[in-house]
Point group: C2
Chain length 232, copies 2
């Protein structure tokens, strides 16, 4: 990809191993970016998503894949951490911020991504945030990203030099069904993606993340290639 | 401190072990906040500042002191990291962003502080950033803090609930001499503070951080209680 002698544009992609971030990464590649993937380990209950991230990064043929361990669970509370309460099941989605909210998580992850982008001189940071079929996390909303962009414009060397790292969130206004259709079109290896918060052998099918995923596949009329514990 | 039966307000304080953050922490205590200190290990060359932070936290009698290891050096470049080039000496201060700049460092540290504040229900995050006698780091300027505050207002649960974590940077417009006078007044144990970027047995006296410190003490007419390698 890219003409010979032309330096390819670089992008940092936040790659959790889930459906949204994988699709975002494939979209970035389709635009011709050279990819630098960033995945975080933070004692998340579903750390098997990290194995998914590795597989997807391999399939994508990224330039570099950084796995960073960050101490979120040392300062925060969330039912998403190992041994910290129960993952809610079959709750009403989007009514209130759920217990799986990790305080300021996307702010922290984006900060690392911007730092990485500055270091490797990447033009763009891609994040698979989505504010349509989502759990109501405040750090998934467009207005947050606009404000964070402004903070980066003002708080980084690149910003001061007049070529700030650009934050892109191409899924922000897509429904889960639209994301899945996009993924299919771009040949994202959906069988490798992991969404379930519980992180057991098979996806539970009842946590918010599984339910949003299942609803999306159903609406898109595409079969979800992963296995679930529950009979559906 | 605090009347009986009245719940004390909590504050997270970013405590590097340097002069500015120590003074900030004493200012927060003087206002009656219960303190939760946060110190970061990131392969900084001068990690002896962390020992300073511990001593200062002890003196202050903080409620909790968290030491967090974060992988900045895995993604970034800075002469402030161990084995990464040379710390500049006797350069003109403030002319350009120096090689000691760590990409997006304050954005990252603040993000963790906001996460911690949400978790322990602290009202405020204090940071000792200063934009007068400083090295020209973009993430020390007031306009950055205003933008970051906005991002937190929009991107956190607390913000959505209408009681965002408030970011305070009480030193932002003080000269180093004014900070040192303030420190003296509040009986900050200046002998424990560490500023030198080199992190050797004694402060070098020639790096930007030492020179800003020495200039501040000279202008304040106060003797710096720490030892320097150079004859001054």
């Amino acid at each position: 990809m890219g003409e010979e002698g032309v330096k390819m544009k670089r992008a940092v992609v936040l790659l959790s191993g889930g459906l949204d971030s994988a699709t975002t990464a494939y979209m970035a590649r389709a635009e011709g970016f050279q990819l630098y993937a960033l995945t975080f380990l933070y004692e998340q209950r579903h750390d098997r998503e990290v194995e998914s991230a590795k597989r997807i990064a391999d399939e994508l043929g990224v330039e570099e894949h950084k796995l960073l361990t960050i101490p979120l669970e040392e300062i925060g509370h969330s039912s998403l951490f190992k041994n910290r309460g129960k993952i809610p099941e079959n709750t009403e989605i989007g009514k209130k911020i759920p217990s799986t909210y990790v305080p300021a998580r996307n702010i922290i992850l984006l900060s690392f991504a911007v730092s990485y982008a500055e270091s490797i001189d990447a033009e763009v940071v891609f994040i698979g945030a989505n504010a349509v079929d989502y759990s109501g996390y405040p750090d998934c909303r467009p207005e947050f990203y606009e404000a964070f962009q402004k903070a980066c414009d003002l708080g980084t060397k690149r910003g001061v030099e007049g070529r700030p790292v650009i934050l892109r969130r191409p899924l922000i206004e897509l429904s889960k069904a639209e994301i899945i259709s996009k993924a299919k079109e771009l040949q994202v290896p959906l069988r490798y993606t992991w969404s379930c918060y519980k992180g057991e052998d098979r996806a539970c099918g009842t946590c918010e993340s599984c339910r949003l995923r299942l609803k999306g596949f159903a609406e898109a009329g595409i079969e979800d290639p992963i296995e679930y514990t529950t009979n559906r």
